[in-house]
Amino acid sequence: MNVNVLVFGQIADITGKESLSITGVASTDELVQLLQQKYSGLKELKYLVAVNKKIIQQSTELKDNDTVALLPPFSGG
């Protein structure tokens, strides 16, 4: 199983790229844990998580080919 991860703003600064392909995670909590291991700077940042463009409030099960986005605080306008 594979999920696409999109990161933005200061999170992309930490990962060094704007999209990642991650395999072997069953939920958003598992995904976030894995990313925090890989990118320790992530722990200090505030962000929302979206699955397929919808913001989620709690850990959500992931299906193959889902898109998960990590969204730091918005600053448009």
Partner: protein, 148 residues
Amino acid sequence: MKEMKKHAVFVDGAITPGFVSEALQKHSVNKNIGAHSLFLGQVRNDVINGQKVAAIEYTAYNEMAEEKFQEIREAAFENFDLICMHIYHSLGKVNAGEISLFVFTSSTHRKEAIRACEYIVERIKKEAPVWGKEIFLNNEYQWKKNTD
């Protein structure tokens, strides 16, 4: 099936005064409009830790932002007696003194246009997945924080 008209929101670089006047001009044919309310966000050259902001570079989660703008659009038409409304937001680099956000509401009466415009601006600031990178004169940068 209801057909959903596509509304382009993102603009490459700054929104020019000429773009605003063209938008206004287009609405002169709609003679039941009595009031337009326009909001324009302009990039400030704030000084942060002794460094002056030269420009903001905007990025977005485009697909999600477009859905969000559409959702805000529908809510505005539901909550206010609008004749039309438009949102334009810059992507890429916008220099200090240039315009990066343009919200434009039109109604028969002024109060609906004014309130809808404010409602839309507040929702965009809070809910649109757009990020501004403040680039200083010395080419360093920081990520912008929106105030309430």
